[in-house]
């Protein structure tokens, strides 16, 4: 037996010597013992190995600290694996909302909502008074049509009012101009009601009184 062969068989020899089930046949055990008697180095190896084996067997088992188990279980991502349907749902929501939550898209959406809110405010829509029934497409369309109709009527009325005002203004202007024209023509003709020469204001008062008394009679 060579030293290399001895080294391989030594493990089984020590197992057999310590009562462990081994695959060492009796003739192999004899060969090992013969080699130990002949080779001092291998005998020393066997002695040291046996002593170390004996020492290790006396050593107590190491026990993990109780909190280690809790720590391991806490750190394992078990909850994600435990419910695959919930994990799949979460993934689907993330996939759906992922682009929406991108900063550029979110900002665009916010501006769009703000624009619509301003338009609604201008159009007179009161958001707090909205009911679910108001959001039906037919109701929305009817409301929109009504609002357009009203706006159109109001615009026509305004136009008519403005036209009436303009007509009145132009009529008044015409009357004024016509009046001024008549006045100027009247001023150009001799006045038949001019007083005769030599009439004083005192005589005029006496004559006027006489005329008044005669008319009264």
């Amino acid at each position: 037996m060579t030293c290399a062969e001895f080294e391989i068989l030594l493990c089984d020899y020590l197992d057999a010597a310590s009562g462990r089930a081994g695959a060492l046949r009796p003739e192999q055990a004899s060969a090992v013992e013969r080699h130990m008697a002949e080779c001092a180095a291998c005998a020393e190896l066997a002695r040291d190995a046996g002593a170390a084996l004996s020492f290790v067997a006396r050593a107590a088992d190491v026990e993990p600290p109780p909190e280690l188990l809790t720590r391991i279980l806490f750190d394992l991502p078990l909850r994600q694996k435990a419910d695959p349907s919930r994990a799949a749902l979460r993934d689907r929501i993330h996939r759906f909302l992922g682009p929406v939550l991108a900063p550029r898209f979110a900002m665009g959406m916010a501006l769009t909502v703000l624009s619509f809110a301003m338009m609604a405010q201008c159009a007179g829509v009161r958001v707090p008074q909205l009911r679910p029934a108001d959001l039906k497409p037919s109701n929305v369309w009817a409301g929109l049509e009504d609002r357009v109709h009203r706006t159109w009527e109001r615009t026509l009325k305004s136009y008519e009012s403005i036209r009436f005002v303009y007509e009145m203004q132009s009529r008044v202007r015409e009357w004024t101009e016509q009046q001024q024209l008549e006045d100027s023509q009247t001023a150009a003709q001799p006045d038949e009601r001019r007083l005769p020469a030599g009439t004083t204001p005192a005589n005029l008062n006496g004559q006027e009184k006489n005329q008044n008394s005669s008319q009264t009679r």
Binding site: A4, E7, I8, L10, C11, D12, L14, A17, S18, G19, R20, E33, M36, A37, A43, E44, L45, A46, R47, D48, A49, G50, A51, A52, L53, S54, F55, V56, A57, R58, A59, A60, D61, V62, E63, P64, P65, L68, L69, R71, I72, L73, D75, L76, P77, L78, R79, K81, A82, D83, P84
Partner: protein
């Protein structure tokens, strides 16, 4: 010959007890039925309670391997946690037809320990084992003939194991502390069975020399 048999007799009693205690979940009695197969199937289906059961069953073994190899409790805890996280992520790559789950788990643990060893090699060069446990060595040097209690023996063993090269250390731990079969160790380390036995013998002999150097009675 008589000397070697006397050595063998000295550890026979304690060894038998250790073997009886250690033949639980880690080592397979039946080579064709994996005791973890049902739990593994449930784990693969995403059963949370199965994961809890799996962790509860194997934490002690994984922690023991990490603690004996790394040498420190805090490191061993972190490594154990990392092992189970890796198992959680790679459980899909486990093939029941290729071997027992316990062997696969030991391989995962061993690979992670070797990665850790390579990563922290530079730190250990500046912080040697002699600097870590001077008190323990002095205490036992003063009482060389004292029969050490199991816990003290464990602590001395822990310090001595760190003096071994990683190849010899892992072989000794897997055989003498984790109690794996030679065939299983060969699967874990991915080396021939003969090489496994050679490393175990050299590791044990080196351990004995280290202990003797520390004047510990073995």
């Amino acid at each position: 010959m008589a000397g070697s048999l006397a050595v063998a007799d000295s550890f026979q009693g304690s060894w038998a007890g250790a073997v009886a205690a250690g033949a639980s979940a880690w080592r397979l009695k039946d080579r064709f039925v994996d005791p973890d197969s049902v739990v593994i199937e449930r784990c693969m289906r995403g059963d949370e309670s199965a994961w809890e059961e799996l962790v509860r069953t194997h934490t002690r073994r994984v922690y023991g391997l990490c603690y004996r190899f790394a040498g420190r409790d805090s490191e061993a805890q972190d490594l154990t946690q990392e092992v189970f996280l890796r198992v959680f992520r790679t459980i899909g790559s486990f093939r029941a037809a290729e071997g027992a789950f316990s062997i696969w788990l030991a391989r995962v643990t061993r690979n992670l320990l070797i990665d850790h060893y390579r990563r922290t090699r530079r730190d250990r060069a500046t912080d040697s084992i002699e600097d870590q446990l001077p008190v323990l060595e002095e205490e036992h040097a003063a009482q060389p003939d004292r029969i050490l209690a199991g816990r003290e023996t464990s602590e001395i063993l822990q310090a001595a194991l760190q003096r071994l090269s990683p190849e010899l250390r892992e072989a000794v731990i897997l055989r003498d502390l984790q109690e794996l079969e030679y065939r299983e160790i060969a699967q874990v380390l991915n080396i021939p069975e003969g090489t496994v036995k050679s490393r175990i013998n050299r590791g044990r002999a080196e351990l004995a020399r280290v202990l003797r150097k520390q004047r510990v009675a073995i």
